[in-house]
Symmetry: C2
DNA sequence: TTCATTTCTTAACATACATCAATGCAACAC
DNA sequence: GTGTTGCATTGATGTATGTTAAGAAATGAA
């Protein structure tokens, strides 16, 4: 996957002039983290949103039995954050960590306020992101309560076609709320049905 | 349940002065709908958010097999809306209807713009509502991928203690993503375990 | 390379949940 | 009253998914 710089992203999505972008950029820090590094832990307040320029992050929880449950993946061009923790300044119940070596832009509250004041377009875009987030979450809930394991997997492929190749299957299973073994069976059945002898 | 007027609600939550509230109120219409009336159908753009003053609404989908899946309940003091349809002006995939006779306040885009301009407090509160919505959806997803039917039901009771009495069990099952029969068995087991002979 | 570790698959078995069908019960209409 | 309708419960049975365990394949480290 190719790197997506935050500056380019802002230009494309919000159509800001270079001067404004430079002004905003001075407030930002970009950092690299290695695979398996943890950026947020339960008990901490989520102080930053992360914009992924290159690499892959995930947001997940761990239950009493020690099992991981993945709420979101964030490949290039995505934001990841525990929004309610960041907004309400509550301690998070979730983890964020790096699935691959990842370079990301750190975005905090002050930046959002600052950028919102400097640029109404930025503020609007932020509002748009919020609504987009809600759309995703709502569709996901609908899939989780309405669909079989097989349909959930098909929904996943439709949503993140490239991730299928980048993340281990047990993580996809963890995202779907099923076991890796079940996912393996689902895949075998799909493959069987899609096989067409000549 | 007691009626919660939108005016009282605004006063409590946002601390607006009476003059501002009156100004806002002129733009609003309050309506009554009977049980089973449909307020939003798939294919329509969701043009209003509804604030429930008295009664109970629900947001749900119907799958290819004709089964209903409930995404949200809205009793007194709650908002209900397909936010992404309303914001992006896309046709909705969902239904909204009345589970009980309900009186509600209709809130549209123009009102939100207008109120946001007149009152920064209102704008901030609206932003807060968005984040609260995201928190709910995220926690729900975590429950759906991490918990058993029994735990999901317990989560439901903790979240909506009063609804347990007001809505038929098959709707709770539909909200949890399980069948009414399964829910009945979950309840029997819980009752069995909580019984303590003297 | 070699060895260890992780991931994926498969199978046998267990269990949770779904399906189908019947019953009882309360609310309501007539 | 009687019949109807909608809802909850129960049992018998089926199926999807979970669990456990093992081995194969891929990956990574030394």
């Amino acid at each position: 996957m190719e790197k997506i710089s935050f500056a380019t992203y802002l230009q494309e999505k919000i159509d800001l002039d270079e001067k404004t972008i430079k002004k905003l950029y001075q407030k930002l820090t970009s950092e690299k983290h290695l695979k398996n590094e943890v950026l947020l832990k339960p008990g901490e307040v989520c102080s930053h949103a992360f914009f992924v320029e290159k690499g892959l992050l995930r947001l997940f929880s761990i239950d009493e039995k020690g099992k991981e449950h993945i709420l979101q993946f964030a490949p290039e061009g995505w934001f990841i954050v525990d929004r309610s923790s960041m907004y309400f300044k509550e301690t998070s119940q979730y983890y964020i960590d790096a699935i691959e070596d990842t370079s990301m832009v750190y975005i905090n509250d002050q930046f959002l306020d600052f950028a919102g004041q400097k640029s109404p377009e930025f503020r609007k875009y932020n509002e748009r992101l919020l609504h987009n987030h809600i759309r995703h979450l709502q569709n996901r809930i609908n899939s989780l309560i309405a669909a079989s394991a097989r349909e959930k997997y098909q929904d996943f492929i439709a949503l993140y076609p490239d991730l299928t190749l980048r993340v281990p299957q047990w993580m996809i299973a963890s995202f779907l709320g099923i076991t890796p073994e079940s996912l393996s069976r689902v895949r075998r059945n799909l493959a069987k049905e899609n096989f067409r002898p000549r």
